[in-house]
Symmetry: C2
Subunit: 324 residues, 2 copies
């Protein structure tokens, strides 16, 4: 079994080997840039580790793994325009460093590139991989649209929120695991296990992201605390507060959301106090663990020896405990 | 042989049968909208007519033909954001009717949909069709980037301009013809003929578009005359004028391009007068005919009986003579 460091090394080299030294420069430079500023490379790691559960030879999974990473970065590129985010991974976003038109177009080119990488899948799996890949890609768009719909909606239910993050985040993680399984020759039953593992872990990760925006350690998290609060983002914490608050507290929250010229730190403090009073912290931690454990139960069901699962288990645990 | 009206009817029904009655509505409504406001459906027509050269049964080409139409409309959607165009086919553009975020995201979803339609290609042709489709899609992005690069460049050469319109316009027309040929079972030689027909006809059409912006009949053309002049678009006519003008006239053109608060009609008149004095009208007409004839020579080389080519020839001639 390859360990996580081996896998990361393979991915790093494979990304470096992608050739974007092409003309016109203003189309390809932003692609090089966003791929070079890193990130956890979670999705391609999952492809390769899932493949490695079933076969030693993960060579055939490398290009498909690159496809998930390039696709993911394409969604970040377009999402950053839509969310008007100026920074990503402590660097300027593409639309800020260049401009919006360049971000739109190089994003388009990235998505096409991700399809080209997926097209290097072994021919016997090609059709099914592309069917699931395009289905997943469309779901990610749906998730992003729901997320935008929620901006002007103060009565988002937990169910609606879960549906949104499943589409926006979890399906791509689930697809990555399943993709690795397909190329590794997993059984239909195990492909389902991998997919369900991904959905649950994906939900868990997103809930944790929401959680860390309020309760994370800024030094570990790498993002400013309270970003989501300032931008009125409909996180799990906010949605749950709106659901659990009594009439007066609900009015207070909505007032905080609608005020235009608020001092950011004051707003963060006030909303955090409301979360604390409603025990949102504990509630969210419970949910994170619930979905994580749920996911792991699907990993346990996968029909390969337990020792082969150790590395994947280790990395999933590391990711979920990373900051609290 | 199916005639052009039969082909148009098939395309109309097939587009109507595409199901975008899906949630979230703000993702799928703009797709329905842009596909419903028509256009010439040139690309899917070319797919089906090219296929029909080699086989009576064009059924298998219908979904791939839809893929070219959906892809083309995706590029229009994103190009309209980048060009800040408010109107398209006498209707509001998507980013104007909704907003930019919705136009970016539903454009992304359209591109994914076009890939899904292409995935319905018969399995034996699937890999090669998708390889050429994604290559073409990337070239179209490159063309759009060159077009944007030209906005701030006053020394675009004819060669650079031709390269740009080949990428932005001609390769998709060439791909459409070749795609029909592949599905119809054409020989490698005839696939090349189809592709070269498409490149030349595509150049010819784009030159004609440039030409009609200045010399077209507004009632037939359906667009306001002089749009390209007002927006300083680097058309063939402008590029050629900058190349052929003497020093003083060149200064005059550049001055007209750089003035901010110009009366539009006056600007159109002045630029048109310069074109006339440099015989740009005749020169452009000559070029349009040159590439058109060049294209037709590749059609003549295709190894099927002449009577099978009649319908395709007729429609190409109709398109090129449509307004002058």
């Amino acid at each position: 079994m390859k360990n996580f460091e081996d896998i990361q090394e393979i991915i790093k080299n494979s990304i470096n080997n992608l050739d974007f030294n092409l003309e016109p420069r203003l189309l390809y430079e932003p692609i090089e840039y966003i791929l070079s500023i890193g990130g956890k490379r979670l999705r391609p790691s999952l492809v390769l580790m899932a493949c490695n559960l079933f076969t030693k030879n993960i060579e055939n999974a490398i290009y498909p793994a690159m496809a998930t990473e390039v696709f993911h970065n394409f969604t970040l590129l377009h999402d950053d325009i839509m969310d008007k985010s100026d920074m990503r991974r402590n660097k300027m976003t593409v639309h800020k460093k260049w401009n919006e038109n360049i971000a739109i177009l190089s994003g388009d080119a990235m998505f096409i590139t991700s399809m080209q990488l997926a097209l290097k899948t072994e021919e016997k799996y090609l059709k099914s991989v592309l069917d699931i890949f395009t289905k997943t890609a469309l779901e990610v768009c749906e998730g992003q649209q729901y997320d935008m719909d929620f901006e002007t909606k103060n009565d988002v239910s937990e169910k609606e929120y879960l549906k949104m993050i499943i589409l926006k985040t979890a399906v791509l993680i689930a697809f990555s695991l399943k993709l690795g399984g397909i190329i590794g020759g997993a059984s239909k039953k195990d492909l389902e296990n991998l997919y369900n593992l991904g959905i649950n872990i994906g939900i868990s990760f997103q809930l944790q992201d929401d959680f860390l925006d309020v309760y994370g350690d800024v030094k570990v998290f790498g993002k400013k605390i309270g970003n989501d609060i300032v931008s009125n983002k409909k996180t799990y914490l906010l949605i749950k507060s709106l659901e659990l608050a009594d009439y007066n507290k609900k009015i207070e929250i909505i007032k905080l959301l609608s005020e235009e010229n608020f001092d950011n730190n004051e707003k963060i403090e006030k909303i955090t106090n409301i979360y604390n009073s409603l025990e949102i912290k504990e509630l969210t931690q419970k949910k994170i663990k619930y979905y994580f454990k749920n996911g792991i139960s699907f990993l346990k069901n996968i029909n390969v020896s337990e020792n082969k699962k150790t590395e994947l288990m280790k990395i999933l645990k590391k990711l979920i405990n990373r900051n609290y």
